[in-house]
């Protein structure tokens, strides 16, 4: 369960990204977060992964109040949260397989675990045959699937997707969304910030609409409406 209680985030006195936002996301939910640019979608996701701290209010994740999380606790939090981005953020000099293994290495996973887990995840994202390719040899969709595989390396409870289809064509976009649905069905809570109205409408899942840092609509089986 993710709970936002009257959360505000201001980058400066004039620019408030979020304003007294209250939101609850039960475990296992799939939420699309929509809104115009600057509505606060990315800020909301960054607050969950503790990349940003709230200016006011409280954020609780599975009973853990992360509002004033200590620096040394952040790595522990992030190992429970997978994050994917529009620009993939893959290491260009490492193969697809190594990109996934890297995430487990920095977290101190034993080599044996890495050898067992990574092929399993690569299979889940349907990239077994492309495991030895470098990022520049992969298509946009494949790159995003590697990024998802990396995000799944720790079997996270929560998956944050910030515009995951922003750089992809319609076919690959749908491919990625299918994968996110599959991951969600395995029990992972998925929060996806997106501008893609076709996908949001086709999903028929919960849609949270933000405007100027506030929740203006929150509907199950909702549609993309700004």
């Amino acid at each position: 369960m993710i709970q936002f209680q009257n959360v505000s985030k201001a980058y400066s006195r004039e620019a408030a990204a979020l304003h007294e936002l209250t939101l609850e996301v039960p475990t296992g939910d799939f939420v699309s977060i929509v809104g115009q640019s600057g509505a606060g979608k990315s800020t909301l996701l960054k607050l969950i992964s503790a990349e940003e701290r709230p200016s006011a209010g409280s954020i609780v994740i599975d009973g853990w109040n992360i509002t004033r999380i200590k620096k040394w606790q952040v790595p522990h939090l992030r190992r429970q949260i997978g994050v994917i981005f529009q620009d993939f953020k893959l290491l260009p000099k490492r193969r697809a397989y190594e990109n996934v293994a890297f995430a487990m290495e920095v977290g101190g996973a034993p080599t044996r675990d890495i050898r067992e887990t990574v092929p399993h995840i690569m299979k889940l994202v349907n990239l077994t045959e492309r495991a030895t390719a470098y990022p520049h040899e992969l298509s946009g969709g494949e790159k995003q699937r590697v990024a998802i595989a990396r995000a799944l390396a720790y079997k996270p409870q929560i998956l944050l997707a910030d515009e995951p289809t922003g750089n992809l064509d319609a076919l690959h976009s749908w491919d990625i969304v299918q994968l996110l649905i599959k991951i969600n069905k395995l029990g992972t809570t998925v929060l996806m910030a997106t501008h893609n109205d076709e996908i949001v409408n086709a999903l028929k899942k919960r849609v949270v609409t933000l405007n100027k840092g506030k929740v203006v609509a929150d509907k199950k089986g909702g549609t993309y409406k700004l």
Binding site: R78, K89, F102, V106, G107, R150
Partner: protein, 311 residues
């Protein structure tokens, strides 16, 4: 877990070191120069002290006792002089000892022996030789011995001002060398810190994607810092190796010339051998380098990475 992490950090450090080879080499060279200057300061200090000690032993401050001075008076005077804080030792030569030494020195001159036989009494006075705790104390001791307090016991005070001048000049030279070398060392240390900052910041820049992803996937701060700290330690160890490789052969070549220049005719004992000293004191020489190089490397890399982690 800790073992695995350490191995991975070490592997990343080695990769960083070789991927930024020219930067690593430049930092190693500067670090080596700093170590060489510090070692020069250290050895110059040791050698200067050895030269000074030898010259000090050559300083001639002696007092000749009056013919009337009794053995008790002589011993009391010697004891009184020895009780001064600036006096290290006092050696009393009695009239008999002086005569014996005189005869030994002139054993090959029969006319002196004959002359002595003509005299009924021992013509040589008793005397004492004084060694001060520090060279600058001699003038003061000499003045004190010439004072009224000892006028009934001491007939003459012998002190060569020339020796004092030589010592003062030497002290001045050593002190100048020390302060100059210290200033140069500090200058180089600052340069090393700045260059190491830049090396590490450039390395961070070239690894910014990996660092970003490390943070993203929950790498601990030490896992991110580790490779950069270890890389700078690797630079320090290389610099220590290079400095040692240069210093010992240099000392071996220079030591005999230094001995010849500073100690020839100055002492009957074996002269101070700088190379032998450096070999026998290798733990101190190595320890000094480790303390400086590793300390400097770890300090500068921690500060640089800390600044980055705050961003």
């Amino acid at each position: 877990m800790i073992g695995i992490s350490f191995w991975r950090i070490l592997r990343a450090a080695l990769q960083n070191f070789f991927r930024n080879f020219w930067l690593s080499l430049a930092t190693t060279v500067i670090m080596t120069l700093t170590l060489l200057i510090v070692l020069f300061l250290y050895f110059a200090n040791i050698f200067g002290s050895a030269v000074l000690y030898t010259i000090e032993q050559k300083v001639d401050l002696s007092a000749v006792f009056t013919d009337d001075a009794s053995e008790e008076q002589i011993q009391a005077t010697a004891k009184s002089v020895l009780s001064r804080v600036d006096v290290q030792s006092v050696k009393v030569v009695s009239r008999e000892d002086a005569l014996t030494q005189f005869k030994e020195r002139n054993a090959d001159k029969p006319f002196i022996e004959e002359s002595l036989k003509e005299l009924e009494d021992n013509p040589l006075p008793a005397s004492m030789f004084i060694v001060a705790t520090a060279p600058e104390q001699y003038v003061q001791i000499a003045e004190n011995l010439s004072s009224d307090r000892y006028q009934d016991v001491i007939a003459q005070v012998n002190f060569e001002q020339d020796s004092q001048d030589v010592i003062e000049k030497l002290i001045n030279i050593i002190s100048t060398v020390k302060s100059t070398a210290l200033a140069v060392t500090i200058l180089f240390a600052v340069l090393v810190v700045l260059i190491m900052f830049n090396t590490i910041r450039l390395a961070i820049y070239s690894f910014r994607e990996e660092i970003d992803i490390m943070r993203l996937v929950g790498a601990s701060r030490w896992f991110i810092r580790g490779p950069f700290v270890l890389e700078s330690m690797l630079v320090a160890v290389s610099a220590i190796f290079l400095a040692t490789l240069l210093v010992y052969p240099a000392l071996r070549g220079v030591a005999p010339r230094l001995e010849q220049f500073f100690f020839a005719g100055l002492t009957a004992e074996a002269p101070f051998d700088m190379y032998a000293y450096a070999v026998s004191h290798w733990p101190t020489v190595l320890g000094l380098q480790i303390l400086l190089a590793i300390g400097l490397a770890v300090f500068s890399s921690l500060i640089a990475i800390q600044r980055y982690l705050r961003q």
